[in-house]
Each structure stands twice: as structure tokens, then as C-alpha cells.
């Protein structure tokens, strides 16, 4: 399963991911990592049976853990298939097919929400 780990700037210098992995032995496979002055964000895959252990360990160390199980969904009535969402998605959820239809691959979604504000037709929804 895909999870998102958010780490506040105050604890970003501490090796909490490494500690949590050693502590739990969980096979955390990091697919995305982003850090800036305000916070850090890591998206990773984890075998579902190990999820609870690593979540508890990370939360105890001050991180926030969210399961990415409600990917983006598209309202096909509202969508005009312009493709505005294509270039703002950091993980390539959206693409245009040969016939210029919009294709959506929700499995890739990391629920960042960038496409929601981009969509001129309010056709994209998270968390439903």
C-alpha cells in the first residue's frame, strides 16, 4: 500500500525514517521525497501487514502518516478533456490518448491536490 509521511521542519534533521525502519524491520520503499523550508514529505510503498508497526513508530517520533487509498476521481460530466491537469501532476496520473481523450491512472496518485486547483471545470475530486 501507498502511504504519505509528513515531517515538520523542527524534526526534519532527525533520522526518524531510518530509526523507524530499524526498529520495525518494515520494508519501506520510498518513491517520492520532497523537502523545503517548511516541511518534508515522503511517499512510500509498504507491505500492508507491516503498515501498523511503521505508522506507530513514525507517529511516536513526531511524523504524520496518511494512507493514500482515496486517489483522484474525475467527474466525466464536468470534464471537457482539455488536459490542463497533465502538466501539474508530479507523478503523471493524467495523459492524453491518441484520440485526445483524457486518461487517468489513479494508482499513481499521491493525493497532493495540485490538479484540483488547476482544473478550470472543477471536475477533479479527492477523498471520495
Amino acid at each position: 500500500m501507498k502511504i504519505k509521511i509528513s515531517i515538520e521542519s523542527a524534526i526534519v534533521t532527525k533520522p526518524i525514517l531510518a530509526e523507524a525502519i530499524i526498529e520495525t524491520g518494515a520494508l519501506l520503499n520510498i518513491s517520492q521525497a520532497h523537502y523545503d523550508t517548511t516541511h518534508g514529505e515522503v511517499v512510500a510503498d509498504i507491505p500492508s501487514e507491516q503498515f501498523r508497526h511503521i505508522r506507530d513508530s513514525l507517529v511516536e517520533k513526531g511524523a504524520e502518516v496518511v494512507v493514500l487509498d482515496t486517489p483522484i476521481s474525475r467527474d466525466e460530466e464536468e470534464c471537457v478533456e482539455c488536459g490542463a491537469c497533465v502538466s501539474v501532476c508530479p507523478v503523471g496520473v493524467f495523459s492524453l490518448a491518441d484520440d485526445w481523450s483524457l486518461e487517468v491512472d489513479p494508482d499513481k496518485c499521491i493525493q497532493c491536490g495540485t490538479c484540483l486547483t488547476m482544473c478550470p471545470h472543477n471536475a477533479l475530486v479527492l477523498g471520495q
Binding site: 523550508t37 471537457v80 478533456e81 482539455c82 488536459g83 490542463a84 491537469c85 497533465v86 502538466s87 501539474v88 492524453l96 484520440d99 485526445w100 481523450s101 483524457l102 495540485t114 486547483t117 488547476m118 478550470p120 471545470h121 472543477n122
Partner: protein, 500 residues
């Protein structure tokens, strides 16, 4: 030399023998048969585009009330419509925002709601006259209650449009959509190969009176659109059509984050192939149409072009900017544009739509000038404080506190050993440091992500930056990041006070 008349082509539409293709299909036909062969073979080429066209709106006539009113101010679902045209006429413009819902709902949404047959709340006011005694009107109507609902769009169907990117280090929300920092993406608009005006760039068949597809119904070209700039390849059209016959399939309200509402308009123009020159023009491809990539990070109407780019490159999915491969997004829908060109083709083949010659051709030399400004716009350099105190990042915050006390400035730009700006520290930051007692040095307590301005930036831009970033001072820096001054919201207030 092939020569056909509109009359002959309409005869073929009538008897069902007309040959119609889309502008996309025409590319290969001209490739195979040549311009002369294609002109013999094809009678009409259809085009189409479906994209955000902000300069759109609808004239409405409500009929007279009892007792009668001459409406001076009018709101439709709380969106203001212009009604200074007596007595019960009004123009609802696409980008006008709702008083209560802000940027989420605007004139464009009222227009879409009308097309969908939904109820609209009407609120109008008047000063009252002897002939129109009523002062207030409140009612609920839908499109069937109106005498007329005439779409009249002053500037539609841009021949092509500049593509957009963003060189700054922060995200911009524009009418070209979300532009990610550091050239993180590119957005563009336009149907390329299907672009109506690009398929007749000399405006041989496009002009006042030309019958077109507008919003799913038959419409007409009124004439040149506002800002029509044909010499630069940026022609525009003023269009009219009957909203009562339009479909929400082809007219859609949109809202751009941080910008506001706009209307997606679907329109298409049939190009009668009267001769081989017209046939040749309709073979235009995405690769033939060149536009500029502009940096929307520069807050000026004279944004510099980063590079020129073809629609072929834009539609490939990514383009090169300074050696980096950047993903592109279309804001207009090519799928819908194609759907429009095909629907128009079916109408003509089915004998439901006849082509027309314009009664007047479009101007081909008008220029689009900038606004004349009768007063000089002050620049940051004109009102900034040049005598600004700065502090080194390695200084202690006690030193910073002393400087702030001595100089009566509440903001201190922070510089490194080369005097380049690296941060800003405020009286508030120092209070916080004292209260927490964790840090000693300026560099630990300063804000590193500083919003800055430059001496040659317009005051209005500096004021916008202060407001949108919720800060009260901007360090003024030169090209080498050296601090040359500071401008505060007080400086701008004083300037405004002097003006009034």
C-alpha cells in the same frame, strides 16, 4: 485554375453532392492531390476550437414589469450585469464575479445555468421616473421567460495565443492556469491544425456576416474582435448567436484559481474552398503555426518571449526550455475542437447548414496599441527609502535589536559577506527569539524566503506583492542582489494620500 462560387457550393449542399472534410483531414488530401486537385475535390473545410474565451457575454431582455421599471443596476444570481441601456435589457459578462460567492461563480456560470434551463434570481434597482415609477424588482426567471438571449462575444477565437511558463521561484495562478515555479510546466491554448482563423489567414471567406457554428447552434461573425491584431497573426472575431438554441455541450463555465471565471466557448467556421489558394491555406499543420512562449513571472504587459514554439511542439507533450524538458498542458480541448469540426461537417453534408460569403472582409492591418497613460506611473525607485540599515547574517540578534531601536526601522534586510541579500529580520522575529531564548544569531531567526522588488518596478506591482504575501516591507535589490533600499506599505499609503 479552379474557381468555384458560394452559389455552386450551396447548390451541392442542397442536392447532397457536397464534399466536406475537416481541416485535419484536409492536410493529407492536399498532400496527396496537391492544392489544385484538392480544390477540385473538396468544397468545404470545417474548423473548430473549444477553449476559454473570457471576452464573452449575453444580451438579455426581460420584458417590462408591471408597474414598469428602468433598471439601473442589476444582479443575476448575485452577479452584476450591465443595464445602462434602458429599460429591461442587460449584458451579463463572463468574468464578472458573484458578490457573495467570489471567484467560484460568475457571469459564465449564469450563462451556463441559463442554457441548462435553470432558474436565475433577478434583483434590479432604479431611481424611479414618472414613466418608470418602480424602484426595485425581485423575480426568478429562466431562459424561456426571456424575450431575447443573444450571445455577443467581443473577442473570441484568437487566431493563436502565447504559451505560458513561470521563471520565478513560486507558483503563479493565472488565466493560463497554475504555472509551477522554475519553468515547472508550460500551458497553451488553441486548436492548431483546426484553428478557424489559421485555416483562412488572409480572411478571404471570414468576415462580417459569415455563418458559423457557435455553441452548438448557427451563429454569425459580427466583424473583427477587439484587439484584432492581424499583422502579428493574432486576429480575433466578434461573434453573435442565439443562446436559446445553444447547448451546454459547447458552452461551459470555468473558474481559474486565483483569477476568476471564464467561459469555454465552442465555435467553428466552415471555409468554402473557392480556389486552390484557399485549399492550400486549409492544409496548415500544427508545425506551421508558430507562437511565443512568454514568462508570466514578469508582472508586465510586455512579458519577454523565452523562445518561439510551434503548436506541433506544444502538442507533443513537452518542450525544451534552456536544456530542460518541460511538460505542456493544453487549456483548450482538442477532442472537443475535433467534435465541433465533425458536427459542422455533418450539418453541411445533411443540408442543414449553408456557407456564406462575408458582406465585409476583416481588416488586415489594424494594430493593437497599449493603453495611453496620462499620468506617469511612479516606480519603486521614486519613493523607496535609500538610507536603509542592513545587518550581517552572522551578527547577534542583540545587534539587530539595537539597530532597529537606533534607526526606527522595523525591518532589517540581512546580507552575507558579499553584501548579497539572504534574509530579512523584523522586530517581531527578535521578540520571538528573546521569548524562546533558543538562538543567538540573526541567521537563525531571520526569514529566508524574502519577497523583494527592484527600483524599476512599478509601485502597483510592489503594492500587489505586499498584499498578496501579507508582508509590510520589501527590500529593494539590484541585479546583483545588493540591497539598494526598502519600501514599506507606509511609503505607499503616503503616496496615495498625496495623490488624492
Amino acid at each position: 485554375m479552379v474557381k468555384k462560387t458560394i452559389h455552386e457550393i450551396n447548390g451541392r449542399i442542397r442536392d447532397g453532392s457536397v464534399n466536406v472534410v475537416t481541416a485535419e483531414e484536409m492536410v493529407d488530401i492536399v498532400g496527396e492531390l496537391g492544392a489544385e486537385g484538392a480544390a477540385k475535390e473538396v468544397d468545404v473545410v470545417t474548423t473548430g476550437t473549444f477553449g476559454a474565451m473570457c471576452s464573452s457575454g449575453v444580451w438579455l431582455n426581460f420584458g417590462h414589469s408591471e408597474p414598469p421599471i428602468r433598471i439601473n443596476k442589476l444582479w443575476l444570481n448575485d452577479v452584476e450585469a450591465y443595464s445602462g441601456v434602458a429599460a429591461v435589457d442587460a449584458y451579463i459578462g463572463a468574468t464578472q464575479a458573484s458578490r457573495s460567492k467570489g471567484l467560484e461563480y460568475g457571469g459564465a456560470h449564469v450563462i451556463e445555468d441559463l442554457i441548462r434551463g435553470r432558474s436565475i434570481d433577478v434583483h434590479g434597482t432604479s431611481s424611479g421616473t414618472d414613466c418608470y415609477p418602480r424602484k426595485v424588482i425581485d423575480t426568478t426567471i429562466n431562459i424561456y421567460d426571456l424575450n431575447q438571449a443573444i450571445m455577443l462575444n467581443p473577442r473570441n477565437a484568437y487566431q493563436k495565443y502565447n504559451a505560458a511558463t513561470n521563471s520565478t521561484n513560486h507558483t503563479l495562478n493565472t488565466y493560463m492556469g497554475t504555472l509551477l515555479p522554475n519553468h515547472g510546466n508550460v500551458t497553451y491554448s488553441g486548436a492548431g491544425v483546426l484553428s478557424p482563423m489559421h485555416n483562412d489567414p488572409n480572411y478571404e471567406t471570414i468576415g462580417t456576416g459569415t455563418r458559423i457554428f457557435l455553441g452548438g447552434a448557427q451563429g454569425y461573425i459580427v466583424g473583427e474582435g477587439t484587439q484584432h491584431s492581424p499583422a502579428a497573426g493574432f486576429g480575433t472575431l466578434m461573434l453573435k448567436g442565439d443562446l436559446k438554441e445553444m447547448s451546454s455541450e459547447y458552452i461551459r463555465a470555468a473558474s481559474f484559481e486565483g483569477y476568476g471565471t471564464s467561459l469555454y466557448v465552442g465555435m467553428g467556421i466552415p471555409i468554402p474552398v473557392l480556389n486552390e489558394d484557399i485549399a492550400k491555406a486549409t492544409a496548415v499543420t500544427d508545425d506551421d503555426i508558430v507562437t511565443n512562449l512568454l514568462d508570466y513571472g514578469i508582472p508586465s504587459s510586455k512579458r519577454p518571449a523565452i523562445r518561439s514554439v510551434t503548436y506541433g511542439e506544444l502538442r507533443s507533450g513537452s518542450i525544451d526550455i534552456n536544456g530542460k524538458e518541460v511538460t505542456t498542458s493544453s487549456l483548450s480541448s482538442f477532442k472537443k475542437s475535433r467534435q465541433i469540426a465533425n458536427e459542422l461537417k455533418d450539418w453541411i453534408k445533411g443540408g442543414e447548414f449553408f456557407v456564406s460569403m462575408p458582406v465585409e472582409r476583416l481588416p488586415r492591418v489594424t494594430a493593437c496599441n497599449s493603453m495611453k497613460l496620462s499620468s506617469v506611473n511612479p516606480l519603486v525607485g521614486d519613493i523607496m527609502t535609500s538610507d536603509v540599515s542592513i545587518i550581517r547574517a552572522e551578527a547577534s540578534f542583540n545587534d539587530a535589536a539595537k539597530t532597529i531601536m537606533d534607526r526606527q526601522f522595523s525591518h532589517l534586510p540581512v546580507v552575507d559577506k558579499d553584501n548579497s541579500l539572504v534574509g530579512i529580520v523584523t522586530a517581531w522575529d527578535i521578540s520571538k527569539a528573546v521569548a524562546k531564548a533558543e538562538y543567538d544569531l540573526v541567521k537563525d531567526i531571520m526569514t529566508k524566503d524574502v519577497v523583494t522588488t527592484s527600483p524599476d518596478e512599478a509601485i502597483d506591482i510592489a503594492a500587489f506583492k505586499l498584499d498578496s504575501n501579507s508582508v509590510s516591507a520589501l527590500p529593494v535589490i539590484d541585479a546583483k542582489k545588493q540591497v539598494v533600499g526598502i519600501i514599506t506599505s507606509d511609503d505607499i499609503s503616503k503616496l496615495l494620500a498625496r495623490r488624492q
